[in-house]
Amino acid sequence: MKIVDFRIPADVKEARSILKDLGPQGAPLAGGTSLGFLPGREPKVAVDITRLELSGISRENGTFRIGATTRIADLQKHSAEGWVLDGVAKRLASQQIRNMSTLGGNIARVFPWADFPVVLMALDAVMAVSGDVERRIPAAEYFASQPTRFFGNGELLTAVLVKAIGPGQGFGYRKETRAAMGFSLTTVAAFIELTGNAIAGARIAIGAGVPFPARVAGVEKALIGKVGSAEVFREAATQLAGLKFKGSAGLSDEYTAHLAQVLVADALADAWAQAKGAKR
């Protein structure tokens, strides 16, 4: 991205007005750590949105409200009953990147390797977008295709709402990288909830290695009514077989498909353990 000018607004109203005036030339900038990956030589005016009081984590009635410009490092360091994003955050890139990158930046434009889209789909998060009216967009709709489509006319992602994990619910997250701080080759998030001893609901999402992060309905369906075991999870993961995987960095397409199945089964095992009351 070619940045030819910058603006530093002090609140959401000013930021929205600047972005509206700039139109397509305006580029909201949070941490800015992904700018190098954005192609295009058309001149852009960066609008620094990190000073709009959109950072921080609060909790109301079992739901965490995470400001859009909350740094990944703050997700990493947050600790609360039912909070699971710390485990996701600490696997993202390096500490220097986590100190700059924001949750909103990770999901306002989805890069193929991004981790939080799959996590927020599995957790059924809701995105708050400030426009002339504030919109609440559920993850399934928000991530159905590139979310930049929601930010046309000075609209800004302001917060992400994530329900705390409760009793009888579990979350699992796995990703594979070439080196510890590398980009995801495959990234998987799994949420399950139990009725009695059986799985009554499941949301599994997968990213990287596939064209765009998405829920995998076949796997979810295969889990309903089942009592968790390594075998059940391996069997459910075979439902990925219909998806087309693309290898990268020395990994064949076939190996990536195999890797995805292993990671789904592992994430499910973690989710099951948590739902059964294991300490994270």
Binding site: K2, I3, I8, T33, A46, Q95, M181
Partner: protein, 161 residues
């Protein structure tokens, strides 16, 4: 060529004003302003040689635009310790012989300093998490690890190294 614009930030405790190009990275601004202790390595946020502290957090100055520092506080290696009175992290690196070519060292020191100021008694896992963005291609990390653990008063043994 974009027009230069004024910005200001606190650099090592002193208020400073700069004229910057909108696409100029913080590391370039620092180095052309004489703060050459901050090193340029990979230029893509991978190696950590360019680490500075921005508002208390270690960041890569090679992927941070200079204007993002406007109104904030930046600390570079020039603001840390002196020959007469080195910072405890600097002294520990010297004592352990944890410096070979030295190129990664300023970044290592800034990352360790930011970590210790936020959390003076990090666990081994926390040290690993916080120092994971600083690459060293000489030492194999063991001596650096030992030095940081000595600063916090722990023994220098490397667990599961």
């Amino acid at each position: 060529m974009s027009d230069l614009k004024p910005i200001s930030f606190t650099l090592n405790g002193e208020s400073k004003e700069f004229l910057v190009s909108p696409d100029e990275m913080l590391v370039k601004l620092l180095r052309r302003s004489g703060y050459t202790g901050t090193k340029e390595g990979c230029d893509e946020g991978t190696c950590g040689a360019c680490t500075v502290i921005l508002d208390g957090r270690a960041i890569c100055s090679c992927i941070t635009h200079a204007f993002q520092a406007h109104g904030r506080s930046v600390e570079t290696i020039e603001g840390v310790g002196s020959f007469e009175q080195p910072h405890p992290v600097q002294q520990a690196l010297v004592d352990e012989g944890a410096v070979q070519c030295g190129y990664c060292t300023p970044g290592m020191i800034m990352a360790a300093k930011a970590m210790l100021e936020e959390n003076p008694r990090p666990t081994d896992d926390e040290i690993r998490e916080h120092m994971d963005g600083n690459l060293c291609r000489c030492t194999g990390y063991e001596k650096i690890w030992t030095a940081i653990r000595k600063v916090i008063g722990a023994d220098g043994k490397v667990p599961n190294a």
